[in-house]
C-alpha cells in the first residue's frame, strides 16, 4: 500500500487546492500515470501516481488541504 500525500511544491507553501481527481475512486492506476491536480498561490501541478494499484481517495475536488495531508492510498 502506498500513501499519497499532498506535496510541498515550494518552501513557503503550506496548503493547496485539489483541482481535479483524474482517477475515479476504486479504479486502477499505473505508476507514472496522471493521478490528480493541485493549485497553490505559486503553481498548478499535475501529480502522477507513485505506485500501481487501486485508488482510494481521502479528499474531494475543490477542497483546500495542508501540505502533507493524506490524499489517497493506492493498494
Amino acid at each position: 500500500m502506498a500513501e499519497v500525500r499532498l506535496p510541498k511544491p515550494g518552501d513557503a507553501i503550506t496548503e493547496a487546492t485539489i483541482v481535479a481527481l483524474v482517477v475515479a475512486d476504486g479504479a486502477h492506476v499505473d505508476e507514472g500515470a496522471p493521478l490528480y491536480e493541485i493549485e497553490t498561490d505559486k503553481v498548478e501541478m499535475a501529480i502522477d501516481a507513485p505506485a500501481s494499484g487501486t485508488v482510494r481517495w481521502h479528499v474531494s475536488e475543490g477542497e483546500v488541504h495542508d501540505v502533507g495531508t493524506l490524499v489517497a492510498e493506492i493498494d
Binding site: A2, E3, V4, R5, L6, P7, K8, P9, G10, D11, I13, K42, V43, E44, M45, I47, D48, P50, V67, G68, T69, V71
Partner: protein, 670 residues
C-alpha cells in the same frame, strides 16, 4: 577534435556510461516521486534530460580529480558514484547527510568522493574551481577540476572573470556548460544574442566546443579530450553540452512558459531511454542485462532512501559546529584568555608598510603554502600600490606572489579554492571599498565552506584590505561591519606596527578566513614605531589597553585609537583619566576585555571611523549595556562616521570622521 562514436568506445565504457546514466535518471525520478507523493518536502532542481552530461563527464575523470557543480547537481554527484545514503540524507536534512544536513541539495560536498563543492549561487563555481586548480598546479598533484554550470550562468560576470583567469594561468580546469535550453524560466534567445555559447571561449583564448549533451558517448569523448589537455598543462577548455530540460526549473514549477509540443517531443526522445534502446539495438546489452542493471540501481537507491528517512535530524548541539574551526559555540565573542604581551627584547623602528612586508616575508620563508594574490603586487608591476609586497616576488618568485587581472571576485575565488585545496593564500583587495565587488566569494563561499562541507573543507586565508583617506566616496570607506555580519569570517584591524606584526601572524596561522584591515593613514602618517626584531604572534580576540585610566573607557580600533590617545592626553590636563582600550580584533570580539575596563570606569565611549548607524559601536554598546545595566554612571556614547559617503573635500571629510575633538566632547558630556 575527432568525434567520438560508439564505434570508437569499448563495450565496457558503453555499459559504464549506461549504468551512470541510469543511476542519475533513477535517482532523479525517485526524488521527484518522493516529493510529489508527499513522502519528502525539500527544494529540488530536477536533472531529467541532462543525464548524459553527468555520466559522460564522470567517466572522463580519474578518482583524484575534483568536480564543482551547482544546485542542479544530482547528475554530477550521482554520476560520480557518490554514496547515496549520505546524499539523500543531505537532501532530507538528516544527521547522516554528507554535511550533517546543514547544506541541503544546493550545497553537496564530498571531496573524498570527487565532489569538491556545490553552490546555489549562479556562476560562482568557476571562480572557486580556478583556486582548486591553482593549488593542483602549484602542488603538482596532477589533478584536473571540472566545473559545471548552466547556460544561464554564462550571463554573469563571475564566469567571464573565471574563464579569463583560467586561460591566463593555464589552469587545469574544464568548464562544462550544461546548456539545457533554459535559464530558470527564460529561453536562450531571451537573455543573449550569442548564437553558440561555446563561441565565448575564443574571446578568452581557450578552445570552445559544442557537443550533443544527450549522447553520453559524445560528452565523454569531448570531456576526456579536454581533461587530457588540462592534465598535460595545456590549460582550460570550454565544453558546451546541449540538452533539453524535461522538468521545471524546480520541483513544482508548472512550466507555463514552455511550448507543450516542444516539451512533448523532447520527452519522447528522452536521453536515458534513447541510450538504453541504442545499446540493446547494437547488441551491447540484452534487454535482460539492461533490466538487471536497472534493478540493481533501484535496490541501491531504495535502500539509501529508506536509511536516510530513518536517520535522525541533526541535534541542537550541531547549530554552531563548523562555523569556526576552534569553536562549537557562538564564535562572535572571544573566549576569555590570559593577556599576551608583545615580547621584550631588541626592537627596530618600522612603519606599517615595512612591518607587514617583514611579516609576509618571514611567513613565506617558513610556510611554503603561503601564496600572495593581487593586482600589481609583484615587483614587475611595482611591488604593490603602496609597496607592501615590494621585493617578495623577487625573493619567492612570481608563482607565489601572483599578479592578477583587475578582477576582485577572481582573486578571492582563486584564494578560496586554493585554500580549500591546501594552500594558505593571502589575497589583497587593495581598497576596502572593493569588498563589495568580491562579497559573494567572501560571504557566500570563503566564510561558509566549512559549514557547507560539514567541516571537511575550510578556507584559511588572510584577505588584506586598506581603508583609504582623502580619496572620496569610493576609496575611503571603512566597511568592517559588513564582514563582521558574516558568520565564519574573522575581522582584525591593528593600530600599530607591532600589533600588525603579531596579529598578521595570527591570521596567517588561523584555520579560518580572516579580513586583515590596514589604514592608509597609518601607512603614511603612522610614523616608525618600535617592533621586536624577533617574530611573534598576538592572539586574535584579545583587547590591548593602550592607556590606563579610571574615569572613562574609550574603546576603539585602527586609526581612531590614536585619536583616542590624543583625546586622553587633552582630558588628562583637565583631570579626567581616560582608559583607551584597543580592540585589535572585531571578530571574535573580546567583550570580556571591554567589560573589565568599563566595570572599573563605569563610563563607555565607543569610537570608530566607519558609519555609526548599525556600526560595530552599536553591537558593543548593546552588549555592554546588557551586561552592565545598573553599573553605568552615564549612557554609553558612540563617536563614529556620519551617515554619508566619505566626502572628498578635506573640510567635509573632517566632519564625516570623528577626531580627537569629537571624542573629547563625548567624554566631557558624560
Amino acid at each position: 577534435m575527432a568525434t567520438t562514436t560508439d564505434a570508437t568506445v569499448d563495450r565496457d565504457t558503453q555499459i559504464e556510461l549506461f549504468r551512470a546514466m541510469q543511476r542519475i535518471h533513477r535517482a532523479d525520478a525517485r526524488v521527484r516521486k518522493g516529493l510529489s507523493g508527499g513522502e519528502f518536502a525539500f527544494s529540488y532542481w530536477p536533472v531529467d534530460g541532462q543525464e548524459a552530461i553527468g555520466a559522460g563527464v564522470s567517466l572522463a575523470l580519474e578518482d583524484r580529480d575534483q568536480v564543482v557543480t551547482t544546485y542542479r547537481g544530482l547528475g554530477d554527484v550521482v554520476g560520480r558514484g557518490v554514496e547515496l545514503t549520505g546524499y539523500f540524507g543531505e537532501l532530507l536534512g538528516r544527521s547522516i547527510g554528507l554535511s550533517k544536513g546543514k547544506a541541503g541539495a544546493m550545497g553537496i560536498s564530498a571531496p573524498e568522493q570527487g565532489i569538491a563543492y556545490s553552490t546555489g549561487i549562479v556562476g560562482a563555481g568557476p571562480l572557486l574551481a580556478n583556486g582548486i586548480a591553482l593549488a593542483a598546479q602549484m602542488l603538482g598533484t596532477g589533478q584536473v577540476v571540472v566545473v559545471n554550470f548552466g547556460d544561464g550562468a554564462t550571463s554573469i560576470g563571475f564566469v567571464h572573470e573565471a574563464m579569463n583567469l583560467a586561460a591566463l594561468w593555464s589552469l587545469p580546469v574544464v568548464f562544462v556548460c550544461q546548456n539545457n535550453a533554459w535559464a530558470e524560466c527564460t529561453p536562450l534567445e531571451g537573455y543573449t544574442r550569442s548564437e553558440r555559447l561555446a563561441d565565448r571561449a575564443a574571446g578568452y583564448g581557450m578552445p570552445g566546443v559544442t557537443v550533443d549533451g544527450t549522447d553520453p558517448v559524445a560528452v565523454h569523448g569531448e570531456v576526456a579530450a579536454a581533461v587530457a589537455r588540462a592534465r598535460a598543462g595545456e590549460g582550460p577548455t570550454f565544453v558546451e553540452a546541449t540538452a533539453y530540460r524535461l522538468q521545471g526549473h524546480y520541483f513544482g514549477d508548472g512550466q507555463g512558459y514552455v511550448d507543450a509540443d516542444e516539451l512533448a517531443a523532447a520527452r519522447a526522445a528522452d536521453p536515458a531511454g534513447t541510450y538504453r534502446a541504442r545499446l540493446i539495438e547494437s547488441g551491447v546489452l540484452t534487454e535482460d542485462e539492461a533490466s538487471a542493471i536497472e534493478a540493481e540501481i533501484d535496490a541501491e537507491i531504495d535502500q539509501a532512501v529508506q536509511a536516510a528517512l530513518a536517520a535522525e535530524e541533526p541535534p541542537a548541539s550541531e547549530l554552531y559546529v563548523d562555523v569556526y574551526a576552534d569553536r562549537d559555540d557562538d564564535g562572535s565573542k572571544a573566549v576569555p584568555t590570559a593577556a599576551v604581551e608583545i615580547p621584550e627584547g631588541e626592537t627596530e623602528e618600522l612603519g606599517l608598510v615595512a612591518a607587514i612586508n617583514r611579516t609576509l616575508d618571514r611567513a613565506m620563508a617558513r610556510d611554503e603554502r603561503i601564496v600572495l594574490l593581487g593586482e600589481d603586487i609583484a615587483d614587475s608591476a611595482g611591488g604593490g600600490m603602496v609597496k607592501v609586497t615590494a621585493g617578495l616576488s623577487t625573493k619567492y618568485g612570481d608563482d607565489r606572489v601572483r599578479n592578477t587581472p583587475i578582477a576582485e571576485s577572481s582573486i578571492i575565488g582563486a584564494a578560496t579554492g586554493a585554500a580549500m585545496a591546501g594552500l594558505r593564500p593571502v589575497p589583497e583587495l587593495m581598497f576596502m571599498d572593493f569588498l563589495g565587488v568580491a562579497l559573494d566569494q567572501i560571504a557566500n563561499h570563503a566564510a561558509k565552506v566549512r559549514y557547507l562541507s560539514g567541516g571537511r573543507l575550510s578556507a584559511p586565508m588572510t584577505i588584506r584590505a586598506t581603508v583609504g583617506v582623502g580619496a572620496g566616496p569610493q576609496h575611503s570607506q571603512a566597511l568592517e561591519a559588513i564582514a563582521m555580519h558574516v558568520p565564519g569570517m574573522k575581522v582584525v584591524w591593528p593600530s600599530t606596527s607591532a600589533d600588525a606584526v603579531g596579529l598578521l601572524n595570527a591570521c596567517l596561522d588561523d584555520d579560518d578566513p580572516c579580513l586583515f584591515v590596514e589604514s592608509m593613514k597609518l601607512y603614511f602618517a603612522g610614523g616608525r614605531t618600535p617592533v621586536p626584531v624577533a617574530d611573534f604572534t598576538l592572539p586574535l580576540g584579545k583587547v590591548d589597553v593602550k592607556r590606563e585610566g579610571g574615569d572613562v573607557t574609550v574603546v576603539s580600533y585602527g586609526t581612531v585609537v590614536h585619536d583616542a590617545l590624543a583625546a586622553a592626553e587633552t582630558l588628562a590636563g583637565e583631570g579626567v583619566e581616560v582608559e583607551v582600550v584597543d580592540l585589535r580584533t572585531l571578530v571574535p570580539l573580546d567583550l570580556e576585555g571591554v567589560l573589565t575596563s568599563v566595570r572599573k570606569t563605569r563610563r563607555l565611549v565607543v569610537a570608530h571611523e566607519s558609519v555609526e548607524f548599525c556600526g560595530p559601536g552599536a553591537e558593543i554598546a548593546a552588549s555592554v549595556g546588557t551586561e552592565l545595566f545598573g553599573e553605568l554612571d552615564a549612557p554609553i556614547r558612540r563617536v563614529a562616521g556620519t551617515y554619508t559617503p566619505v566626502p572628498r573635500a578635506a573640510s567635509l571629510e573632517a566632519l564625516c570622521h570623528p577626531g580627537p575633538d569629537a571624542i573629547v566632547a563625548a567624554v566631557r558630556s558624560m
